[in-house]
Amino acid sequence: MSQHAPKEIGELSFGLMDPEEYRDMSATKVITADTYDDDGFPIDMGLMDPRLGVIDPGLECKTCGKHSGSCNGHFGHIELAAPVIHVGFAKLIRRLLRGTCRDCSRLCLNDEEREEFTSRLRRARELGNDLNDVTKAAIRQARKKDHCPFCGGQQYDINHEKPTTYYEVQQVLTSEYPDRIAEAMEPDPDDEDDRGVSPVELADETGIDQGRIQEILSGEFRPREEDRKAIERALDVDLTEEDMNKLMPSDIRDWFEDIPDEDIQVLGINAERSRPEWMILTVLPVPPVTARPSITLDNGQRSEDDLTHKLVDIIRINQRFMENREAGAPQLIIEDLWELLQYHVTTFMDNEISGTPPARHRSGRPLKTLSQRLKGKEGRFRGSLSGKRVNFSARTVISPDPTLSLNEVGVPDRVATEMTQTMNVNERNLDEARRYVSNGPEAHPGANYVKRPDGRRLKVTEKNCEELAEKVQPEWEVSRHLVDGDIIIFNRQPSLHRMSIMAHEVVVMPYKTFRLNTTVCPPYNADFDGDEMNMHALQNEEARAEARVLMRVQEQMLSPRFGENIIGAIQDHISGTYLLTNQNPQFNETQALDLLRATRIDELPEPDGTDDAGNEYWTGRTVFSELLPDDLNLEFVSSAGDEVVIEDGQLLEGTIDEDAVGAFGGEIVDTIAKVYSKTRARIFVNEVASLAMRSIMHFGFSIGIDDESISPAAEEQIDEAIENAYARVQELIETYDRGELESLPGRTVDETLEMKIMQTLGKARDSAGDIAEEHFDDDNPAVVMAESGARGSMLNLTQMAGCVGQQAVRGERINRGYEDRTLSHYKPDDLSAEAHGFVEHSYRGGLNPREFFFHAMGGREGLVDTAVRTSKSGYLQRRLINALSELETQYDGTVRDTSDTIVQFEFGEDGTSPVKVSSDEDNDIDVERIADRVLDTEFESDEAKQQFLGQEHSPTNLSEHADDWWMAQSDD
């Protein structure tokens, strides 16, 4: 590995290749279509010639002397018997044929036009516009000319028959010319005055001899060019037909050879690098064998690469072509062979050309030739260069573990023993390194490989580990297993934003799944219904440092999408804090300590009071306040609707729910992350999650079908409400039937009726919901979850307990099915609620079959919508990323693309990062500027100012294992 010194690329140039260059770089000419002889040796000057490189291990390359693996291979060449067109340039060839003179090969533009297009070309280059637009316009201009401005030769249209045939379209005398002339000379039968044209008159008018006219009319004499035109003018007839004159590749090559250098310069082609005649191939390069290795099958047979197959075809036809030509075969046969050669060379480069049948393998599978290797998702660019398979990676199912910190990930021991980190052994870690090696590759904190300073890698085995451990010396490298505290990268696809890839600290655990803290589910969009995630072990110190500082989960808490925290309490955590703080319950000492047992708090504050029995108690809010920074002051409205007041780190009032600690902008988490630090916020989120789990376990929390049942009285009320709605709908229908319904502005009467019915039924469901809601207690688990924002909504509860309501497809009541009715259960044109998908029952009560069917219709639409949306948005995202990927914010604050063109003069117009800005809407005071102004007036010298300001000391915290130290530093 290390003998490959990195090389610097000085320059890349793109252009056409000179056939001479092909010959120069060729290691050998290839003339035999066979690969190996009967003894299995490669045939000299065959397609597997040993000078083209080596693929069999142990052999030596005849050109460079290197062995397989280090020899990159060498090109050979085939001398083509006749020139053929390179398909990749078919369009450019057509353009040049159309733009240049057929006689003198000069570009058909006069000096003025040349000047114009040259300057337009220069301009397009400067502005970074598409040069093709200019060159296309130049060709269009040149095509307009009937005659060459230089030699005056007449120009003909060029027809291009895809993929590689070109015709010159000429106007020639039709074979039916006597008939056409005679017909034109006849008198017009519809016009009585017209007596036709006599041959004598025609001769007078055209100036052609009378006898000649007779000869022409009898078809004995073909009129010459000028005579034909004279007759055409005199009689107003067309005596020509189109003649397609095929241009052979050799003709085109001769044509292009004569184009002067300065003429193609106008078309944006650099003549020094690319002569147009090089687009017509006379020599075909043969790719080295390393690019088309043959494989030996199990039965000892060799199977050749698709490219080799194609080259065999080319050489065979080439050979036949030459033989036939030497034998003086008829032109027809030669042309057929030429076309066949063209076909093989074409499919060698691209086997997916429309209009050409693809070349197939014996089995009928289309061959994968050059352009198929490059194109598409699995092609060289997208499949092998932009995306590769990587080492040091693992993938398995994820599962939750609330005992982990959000920065951590549980790594199964069998993953940890497989993936390694390199230890550079020195005097100080020698003993440690030896301990790893002596544990062997199977015991957990062991090692898999050691590397000696001479570069030799030794595998650590169960047998040699003790022995090897003794030998380990400073300057050796030991590949040790992952251990607790190592940093790794963790990822869940689809990676839609930067928080989809974050760095975690390793905690090695038994069993087979990756374990995550549930609070990191939102950024990954992960759940545990079978999701799998990928892990990558970092392999150098620079990468590990970068991951720790920039990519660790706590550093990604604030989402750049909306500038607030994306990590926070979710689901049960929120129910837990709600239960703890909403009614502010009291706990005795044991209970309070139990709630806080998974946090760093091990001493309770002063009790809030004593109960009737004389026991001290602590309230839920006091317990929660223990987690808050001591000097936190905050006021906001919770999602439960009450005012939350936090003063000096004490929660005085209010419910802690989604708006306080939730992911996606929980007020307290957001404030701590921005005002204090990410580390403090991480500690807070971890502790809130732990406390919430303890508290939800303390109270107990479950939901069952009985939690949605309501009293018979309430049920009756709901039935009545729905009954009323039905009556109102009936009323509406009757008004409509009488033709008395007044239409709303901009709508037809039918639409108005539909709208009003929908409205009425919507109201019915809402009132059913209201009635149901009234009958639920505040401690009903579904209500707790909806109120706190943990999961579900009051609408869900309404549908479970009250009435499911109107089902809709495409935003309308259900109107499909049979003619004029939805189901055969109803009469035609029945407009009533139940005939159009109103579900009056609740989920708990159960739907009747018709309701169930309508409900399935509405549900299906939802499923289809999500499926369509994900695929659409995925494609949109890919295109957006491709369009924006090269934009970069520079140090001067501007956003530029790779060619330094400015896109934004200041990033986001204000040059600020959304995560560094206050998320409070009314807080748009420029505090910094005001403070600067005050300071500037207060202090005269910079030193005095600096002294006053002091230096902010913010301790870095790079690991879960350094928390004690960090707490001591920042004495919070």
Partner: protein
């Protein structure tokens, strides 16, 4: 015809004087071709703007009160 430059949603477009342009180019260390472009036919342009001129656009911004942007007039 409606003069769009009078519309309240169309920000102020003005031709940048040559000296000021020098300063701008100096500030960002760029050629004028590196600026964003605006078509000569753009109805928001002032009448005197010609191809090759640089236009200063001062628009209201949601994040900063006023954002200044320069554009090169092209065909």
């Amino acid at each position: 015809m409606v003069d769009v430059s009078e519309h309240e949603l169309v920000p102020d477009h003005s031709v940048l004087a040559e000296e000021e342009l020098e300063d701008v180019l100096q500030e960002y260390n760029i050629d004028r071709t590196d600026l964003p472009k605006i078509k000569r036919a753009d109805p928001a342009l002032p009448d005197e703007a010609d191809v090759g001129d640089v236009i200063e656009i001062v628009r209201d911004s949601r994040t900063t009160d006023q954002a200044v942007v320069y554009r090169l007039v092209v065909e």
